[in-house]
Protein backbone atom coordinates (compact mmCIF):
# COMPACT_ATOMS: atom_id res chain seq x y z
CA UNK A 1 0.00 0.00 0.00
CA UNK A 2 2.98 2.25 0.33
CA UNK A 3 4.89 4.45 -2.07
CA UNK A 4 7.84 5.37 0.08
CA UNK A 5 10.67 7.82 -0.19
CA UNK A 6 14.18 6.98 0.95
CA UNK A 7 15.88 8.82 3.75
CA UNK A 8 17.01 12.04 2.27
CA UNK A 9 18.53 15.41 2.65
CA UNK A 10 16.90 16.53 -0.55
CA UNK A 11 15.35 19.87 -1.17
CA UNK A 12 11.92 20.20 0.38
CA UNK A 13 8.84 20.04 -1.81
CA UNK A 14 7.71 23.17 -3.56
CA UNK A 15 4.38 24.54 -2.38
CA UNK A 16 3.78 25.94 -5.84
CA UNK A 17 4.29 22.51 -7.39
CA UNK A 18 1.87 20.91 -4.97
CA UNK A 19 -0.71 23.55 -5.81
CA UNK A 20 -0.16 22.99 -9.53
CA UNK A 21 -0.75 19.30 -8.99
CA UNK A 22 -3.95 19.93 -7.03
CA UNK A 23 -5.29 22.13 -9.79
CA UNK A 24 -4.26 19.59 -12.40
CA UNK A 25 -6.32 17.05 -10.48
CA UNK A 26 -9.28 19.47 -10.48
CA UNK A 27 -9.35 19.81 -6.71
CA UNK A 28 -11.40 22.92 -6.04
CA UNK A 29 -12.17 22.64 -2.34
CA UNK A 30 -9.60 22.41 0.43
CA UNK A 31 -10.85 21.41 3.87
CA UNK A 32 -8.38 22.06 6.63
CA UNK A 33 -7.38 22.32 10.22
CA UNK A 34 -4.05 24.20 10.22
CA UNK A 35 -0.90 22.12 10.39
CA UNK A 36 2.47 23.63 11.18
CA UNK A 37 4.27 21.52 8.56
CA UNK A 38 2.16 22.76 5.64
CA UNK A 39 1.07 26.11 7.01
CA UNK A 40 3.42 28.58 5.33
CA UNK A 41 4.21 26.69 2.16
CA UNK A 42 0.77 25.38 1.34
CA UNK A 43 -2.21 26.44 3.45
CA UNK A 44 -1.48 30.18 3.43
CA UNK A 45 -0.95 30.23 -0.35
CA UNK A 46 -4.11 28.18 -0.86
CA UNK A 47 -6.06 30.57 1.35
CA UNK A 48 -5.16 33.41 -1.02
CA UNK A 49 -5.72 31.51 -4.26
CA UNK A 50 -9.10 32.25 -5.84
CA UNK A 51 -9.09 28.89 -7.60
CA UNK A 52 -9.69 27.19 -4.25
CA UNK A 53 -12.55 27.36 -1.82
CA UNK A 54 -11.04 26.89 1.62
CA UNK A 55 -13.28 25.41 4.28
CA UNK A 56 -11.84 25.85 7.74
CA UNK A 57 -13.18 23.11 10.00
CA UNK A 58 -12.99 22.87 13.77
CA UNK A 59 -12.02 19.21 13.81
CA UNK A 60 -10.56 16.93 11.18
CA UNK A 61 -13.30 14.30 11.20
CA UNK A 62 -15.69 16.97 9.93
CA UNK A 63 -13.45 17.14 6.91
CA UNK A 64 -13.65 13.41 6.25
CA UNK A 65 -17.43 13.70 6.03
CA UNK A 66 -17.37 16.89 3.96
CA UNK A 67 -14.97 15.40 1.41
CA UNK A 68 -16.97 12.18 1.19
CA UNK A 69 -20.26 14.02 0.69
CA UNK A 70 -18.70 16.21 -1.99
CA UNK A 71 -17.60 13.12 -3.90
CA UNK A 72 -21.21 12.12 -4.61
CA UNK A 73 -21.39 14.60 -7.47
CA UNK A 74 -17.67 14.34 -8.23
CA UNK A 75 -16.71 17.59 -6.58
CA UNK A 76 -13.06 17.01 -5.79
CA UNK A 77 -11.67 18.05 -2.43
CA UNK A 78 -8.58 17.58 -0.28
CA UNK A 79 -8.45 17.35 3.51
CA UNK A 80 -5.26 19.07 4.71
CA UNK A 81 -4.24 18.36 8.29
CA UNK A 82 -1.52 17.22 10.68
CA UNK A 83 -0.96 13.61 11.71
CA UNK A 84 -2.51 14.37 15.08
CA UNK A 85 -5.75 15.14 13.25
CA UNK A 86 -5.38 11.99 11.21
CA UNK A 87 -5.10 9.97 14.41
CA UNK A 88 -8.10 11.75 15.89
CA UNK A 89 -10.18 10.97 12.80
CA UNK A 90 -9.43 7.28 12.43
CA UNK A 91 -12.96 6.10 13.15
CA UNK A 92 -14.47 8.48 10.62
CA UNK A 93 -11.86 7.42 8.06
CA UNK A 94 -12.47 3.78 8.89
CA UNK A 95 -16.22 4.08 8.43
CA UNK A 96 -16.69 6.74 5.79
CA UNK A 97 -13.64 6.35 3.59
CA UNK A 98 -12.83 2.66 3.97
CA UNK A 99 -16.00 0.75 4.92
CA UNK A 100 -18.01 2.88 2.50
CA UNK A 101 -15.25 2.89 -0.12
CA UNK A 102 -15.28 6.60 -0.85
CA UNK A 103 -12.48 8.69 -2.39
CA UNK A 104 -11.51 10.80 0.58
CA UNK A 105 -8.16 12.39 -0.31
CA UNK A 106 -5.99 13.59 2.56
CA UNK A 107 -2.69 15.43 2.82
CA UNK A 108 -1.04 15.07 6.19
CA UNK A 109 1.87 17.05 7.55
CA UNK A 110 4.14 14.91 9.69
CA UNK A 111 4.95 17.20 12.56
CA UNK A 112 8.09 16.04 14.31
CA UNK A 113 9.74 14.25 11.39
CA UNK A 114 13.31 15.37 10.75
CA UNK A 115 14.28 16.00 7.10
CA UNK A 116 17.08 13.44 7.14
CA UNK A 117 15.11 10.51 8.52
CA UNK A 118 12.54 8.23 6.96
CA UNK A 119 9.03 8.21 8.31
CA UNK A 120 9.39 4.69 9.66
CA UNK A 121 12.70 5.52 11.33
CA UNK A 122 11.57 8.81 12.76
CA UNK A 123 12.59 9.54 16.31
CA UNK A 124 9.04 10.71 16.81
CA UNK A 125 6.70 7.94 17.94
CA UNK A 126 3.74 9.91 16.63
CA UNK A 127 5.32 10.03 13.18
CA UNK A 128 6.68 6.51 12.77
CA UNK A 129 3.44 4.79 13.71
CA UNK A 130 1.50 6.49 10.91
CA UNK A 131 2.42 4.25 7.94
CA UNK A 132 1.81 0.97 9.81
CA UNK A 133 -1.59 2.20 10.95
CA UNK A 134 -2.54 3.19 7.42
CA UNK A 135 -1.27 -0.16 6.16
CA UNK A 136 -3.47 -2.02 8.63
CA UNK A 137 -6.39 0.06 7.40
CA UNK A 138 -5.44 -0.72 3.78
CA UNK A 139 -5.35 3.01 3.15
CA UNK A 140 -2.96 3.92 0.34
CA UNK A 141 -0.33 6.45 1.34
CA UNK A 142 2.27 8.32 -0.67
CA UNK A 143 5.26 10.16 0.76
CA UNK A 144 5.85 13.77 -0.23
CA UNK A 145 9.35 14.43 1.06
CA UNK A 146 10.91 16.30 -1.83
CA UNK A 147 9.97 18.14 -4.96
CA UNK A 148 10.40 15.00 -7.03
CA UNK A 149 7.55 13.42 -5.08
CA UNK A 150 5.01 16.07 -5.97
CA UNK A 151 4.52 14.69 -9.48
CA UNK A 152 2.64 11.76 -7.93
CA UNK A 153 -0.12 13.96 -6.55
CA UNK A 154 -2.38 14.61 -9.53
CA UNK A 155 -2.29 11.06 -10.92
CA UNK A 156 -2.99 9.62 -7.47
CA UNK A 157 -5.99 11.88 -6.93
CA UNK A 158 -7.32 11.06 -10.40
CA UNK A 159 -7.02 7.37 -9.59
CA UNK A 160 -8.72 7.81 -6.22
CA UNK A 161 -11.76 9.41 -7.80
CA UNK A 162 -11.88 6.78 -10.55
CA UNK A 163 -11.65 3.83 -8.20
CA UNK A 164 -13.28 5.23 -5.07
CA UNK A 165 -10.19 4.39 -3.04
CA UNK A 166 -9.21 6.79 -0.28
CA UNK A 167 -5.73 8.25 -0.36
CA UNK A 168 -3.32 9.85 2.07
CA UNK A 169 -0.26 11.93 1.18
CA UNK A 170 2.30 12.10 3.97
CA UNK A 171 4.24 15.35 3.85
CA UNK A 172 7.59 14.79 5.54
CA UNK A 173 9.19 18.17 4.94
CA UNK A 174 7.60 21.57 5.02
CA UNK A 175 6.80 22.76 1.50
CA UNK A 176 8.49 26.01 0.54
CA UNK A 177 7.29 28.79 -1.70
CA UNK A 178 9.34 31.33 -3.62
CA UNK A 179 9.91 34.36 -1.49
CA UNK A 180 8.41 32.68 1.54
CA UNK A 181 5.02 33.29 3.10
CA UNK A 182 4.02 36.90 3.44
Amino acid sequence: MTVSSPANKRAPPSGEDIIVQLKKARVGIIVSVPDIVTSDGLLWPISKDPDFQLIRVCKEDEGVSICAALSYNNTRALLLMQQTGLMDSLNAIRAIAMDYHQPVCMMVGLQGKAPDETVLESASYGVRIVPPILDVMALKHIGIDSDADTQHIAPAIDTAYKTGDALCFLVGQSPVIAGGHS
Binding site: E62, S65, I66, Y72, I96, Y100
Partner: protein, 191 residues
Protein backbone atom coordinates in the same frame (compact mmCIF):
# COMPACT_ATOMS: atom_id res chain seq x y z
CA UNK B 1 -43.44 16.92 23.72
CA UNK B 2 -43.79 15.92 20.08
CA UNK B 3 -43.97 12.38 18.81
CA UNK B 4 -41.04 11.97 16.45
CA UNK B 5 -43.00 10.16 13.75
CA UNK B 6 -45.63 12.88 13.81
CA UNK B 7 -42.96 15.53 13.42
CA UNK B 8 -41.56 13.66 10.43
CA UNK B 9 -45.02 13.20 8.97
CA UNK B 10 -45.49 16.94 9.33
CA UNK B 11 -42.20 17.59 7.56
CA UNK B 12 -42.90 15.17 4.71
CA UNK B 13 -45.18 17.34 2.52
CA UNK B 14 -42.69 20.21 2.71
CA UNK B 15 -39.85 18.15 1.25
CA UNK B 16 -39.46 18.86 -2.45
CA UNK B 17 -38.15 16.33 -4.97
CA UNK B 18 -34.72 17.98 -5.30
CA UNK B 19 -34.17 18.38 -1.55
CA UNK B 20 -31.39 16.42 0.12
CA UNK B 21 -32.32 14.88 3.47
CA UNK B 22 -29.51 13.69 5.75
CA UNK B 23 -30.78 11.51 8.55
CA UNK B 24 -29.29 9.58 11.45
CA UNK B 25 -30.22 6.77 13.79
CA UNK B 26 -33.85 6.46 14.84
CA UNK B 27 -34.90 9.58 12.97
CA UNK B 28 -33.37 7.98 9.89
CA UNK B 29 -35.17 4.69 10.38
CA UNK B 30 -38.48 6.48 10.93
CA UNK B 31 -37.91 8.77 7.94
CA UNK B 32 -37.05 5.86 5.64
CA UNK B 33 -40.35 4.23 6.57
CA UNK B 34 -42.37 7.41 6.28
CA UNK B 35 -40.70 9.00 3.26
CA UNK B 36 -38.55 6.61 1.24
CA UNK B 37 -36.79 8.46 -1.57
CA UNK B 38 -33.46 8.16 -3.32
CA UNK B 39 -32.28 11.59 -2.19
CA UNK B 40 -32.28 10.47 1.44
CA UNK B 41 -28.63 10.45 2.52
CA UNK B 42 -28.36 7.74 5.13
CA UNK B 43 -24.73 6.55 5.11
CA UNK B 44 -23.17 8.95 7.57
CA UNK B 45 -20.82 6.28 8.91
CA UNK B 46 -19.62 7.66 12.20
CA UNK B 47 -21.83 9.00 14.97
CA UNK B 48 -22.12 12.76 15.00
CA UNK B 49 -21.16 13.31 11.40
CA UNK B 50 -24.58 14.09 9.87
CA UNK B 51 -24.14 17.85 9.99
CA UNK B 52 -20.73 17.61 8.34
CA UNK B 53 -21.98 15.35 5.56
CA UNK B 54 -24.81 17.83 5.07
CA UNK B 55 -22.36 20.69 4.77
CA UNK B 56 -20.44 18.76 2.13
CA UNK B 57 -23.64 18.19 0.18
CA UNK B 58 -24.54 21.86 0.50
CA UNK B 59 -21.11 22.86 -0.82
CA UNK B 60 -21.40 20.45 -3.74
CA UNK B 61 -24.98 21.38 -4.60
CA UNK B 62 -25.48 24.95 -3.41
CA UNK B 63 -28.75 25.34 -5.30
CA UNK B 64 -30.43 22.54 -3.38
CA UNK B 65 -32.05 22.64 0.03
CA UNK B 66 -30.38 20.41 2.59
CA UNK B 67 -32.38 19.18 5.57
CA UNK B 68 -30.57 17.43 8.43
CA UNK B 69 -32.45 15.11 10.78
CA UNK B 70 -29.95 15.04 13.63
CA UNK B 71 -30.06 13.60 17.10
CA UNK B 72 -29.11 15.30 20.34
CA UNK B 73 -26.53 12.67 21.30
CA UNK B 74 -25.16 12.71 17.77
CA UNK B 75 -24.80 16.47 17.66
CA UNK B 76 -22.98 16.45 20.99
CA UNK B 77 -20.25 14.48 19.25
CA UNK B 78 -19.72 17.17 16.63
CA UNK B 79 -20.52 20.52 18.21
CA UNK B 80 -17.68 22.17 16.35
CA UNK B 81 -19.60 21.57 13.14
CA UNK B 82 -22.05 24.26 14.25
CA UNK B 83 -19.26 26.81 14.01
CA UNK B 84 -17.96 25.40 10.74
CA UNK B 85 -21.44 25.46 9.19
CA UNK B 86 -22.19 28.96 10.45
CA UNK B 87 -18.87 30.15 9.04
CA UNK B 88 -19.61 28.70 5.59
CA UNK B 89 -23.20 29.91 5.80
CA UNK B 90 -24.94 27.54 3.36
CA UNK B 91 -28.03 29.38 2.22
CA UNK B 92 -30.51 26.50 2.08
CA UNK B 93 -29.69 24.54 5.20
CA UNK B 94 -32.23 23.45 7.81
CA UNK B 95 -30.76 21.60 10.77
CA UNK B 96 -33.46 19.75 12.73
CA UNK B 97 -32.35 18.33 16.07
CA UNK B 98 -34.58 15.69 17.60
CA UNK B 99 -33.99 16.06 21.31
CA UNK B 100 -35.11 13.17 23.45
CA UNK B 101 -32.37 13.43 26.06
CA UNK B 102 -31.10 9.89 25.59
CA UNK B 103 -28.94 7.74 23.36
CA UNK B 104 -32.02 5.96 22.12
CA UNK B 105 -30.48 3.23 20.00
CA UNK B 106 -27.65 2.59 22.47
CA UNK B 107 -29.64 1.55 25.49
CA UNK B 108 -31.49 4.81 26.20
CA UNK B 109 -28.82 6.12 28.56
CA UNK B 110 -29.14 9.86 29.21
CA UNK B 111 -27.00 12.24 27.23
CA UNK B 112 -24.72 14.54 29.22
CA UNK B 113 -26.66 17.67 30.05
CA UNK B 114 -30.11 16.17 29.68
CA UNK B 115 -32.62 18.87 30.43
CA UNK B 116 -30.10 21.68 30.61
CA UNK B 117 -28.15 21.65 27.36
CA UNK B 118 -29.46 24.27 24.93
CA UNK B 119 -28.78 23.25 21.32
CA UNK B 120 -30.64 26.22 19.84
CA UNK B 121 -28.65 28.54 22.05
CA UNK B 122 -25.41 26.93 20.92
CA UNK B 123 -26.42 27.24 17.27
CA UNK B 124 -27.24 30.91 17.74
CA UNK B 125 -23.96 31.50 19.52
CA UNK B 126 -22.10 29.65 16.76
CA UNK B 127 -23.54 32.00 14.19
CA UNK B 128 -26.58 30.24 12.72
CA UNK B 129 -28.95 32.72 11.14
CA UNK B 130 -31.78 31.57 13.38
CA UNK B 131 -32.53 28.83 15.88
CA UNK B 132 -35.90 27.88 17.32
CA UNK B 133 -37.25 25.46 19.88
CA UNK B 134 -40.46 23.48 19.60
CA UNK B 135 -42.31 21.29 22.07
CA UNK B 136 -45.71 21.46 20.36
CA UNK B 137 -46.41 19.93 16.97
CA UNK B 138 -48.74 22.67 15.78
CA UNK B 139 -46.13 25.34 16.44
CA UNK B 140 -43.53 23.36 14.47
CA UNK B 141 -46.00 22.86 11.64
CA UNK B 142 -46.75 26.57 11.50
CA UNK B 143 -43.08 27.52 11.48
CA UNK B 144 -41.87 24.97 8.91
CA UNK B 145 -42.52 26.97 5.72
CA UNK B 146 -40.62 29.89 7.14
CA UNK B 147 -37.77 27.73 8.35
CA UNK B 148 -37.37 26.24 4.89
CA UNK B 149 -37.60 29.58 3.14
CA UNK B 150 -35.28 31.75 5.18
CA UNK B 151 -31.57 32.12 4.55
CA UNK B 152 -29.58 29.49 6.38
CA UNK B 153 -28.18 27.93 8.22
CA UNK B 154 -31.11 27.64 10.58
CA UNK B 155 -31.79 25.18 13.37
CA UNK B 156 -35.02 23.87 14.86
CA UNK B 157 -34.79 21.83 18.05
CA UNK B 158 -37.74 19.54 18.61
CA UNK B 159 -38.40 18.14 22.07
CA UNK B 160 -39.55 14.68 21.16
CA UNK B 161 -40.66 11.32 22.46
CA UNK B 162 -40.60 8.16 20.39
CA UNK B 163 -43.68 7.54 18.34
CA UNK B 164 -44.44 4.40 16.43
CA UNK B 165 -41.44 2.08 16.40
CA UNK B 166 -40.08 1.65 12.90
CA UNK B 167 -37.55 -1.10 12.15
CA UNK B 168 -33.87 -0.33 12.54
CA UNK B 169 -32.47 -1.40 9.20
CA UNK B 170 -28.76 -0.90 9.82
CA UNK B 171 -27.87 -3.17 6.92
CA UNK B 172 -29.57 -0.81 4.48
CA UNK B 173 -28.20 2.46 5.79
CA UNK B 174 -24.64 1.13 5.60
CA UNK B 175 -25.15 -0.53 2.23
CA UNK B 176 -23.49 0.31 -1.06
CA UNK B 177 -26.99 0.10 -2.51
CA UNK B 178 -28.16 3.09 -0.48
CA UNK B 179 -25.13 5.15 -1.42
CA UNK B 180 -25.38 4.28 -5.11
CA UNK B 181 -29.09 5.13 -5.16
CA UNK B 182 -28.33 8.54 -3.68
CA UNK B 183 -25.42 9.12 -6.06
CA UNK B 184 -27.48 8.16 -9.10
CA UNK B 185 -30.38 10.36 -8.05
CA UNK B 186 -28.14 13.32 -7.26
CA UNK B 187 -26.41 13.21 -10.60
CA UNK B 188 -29.59 12.41 -12.51
CA UNK B 189 -31.18 15.52 -11.10
CA UNK B 190 -28.04 17.59 -11.55
CA UNK B 191 -28.25 17.39 -15.33
Amino acid sequence: MIQRDLALTTLRPHVEPRDLVVAVYQSCFDWLALCPRDLNYVSTGAMGQASSHALGLALGSPDRRVIVLDGDGSLLMNLGSLVTIANVRPKHFLHLVFENGVYEVNGAHPIPGTGTVDFAGMAEAAGYQDAMRFSQLDAFEAALPGLLACDGPVMAVLKIVPGKAYPRDYKYIHSATARQAFRDALNRNET
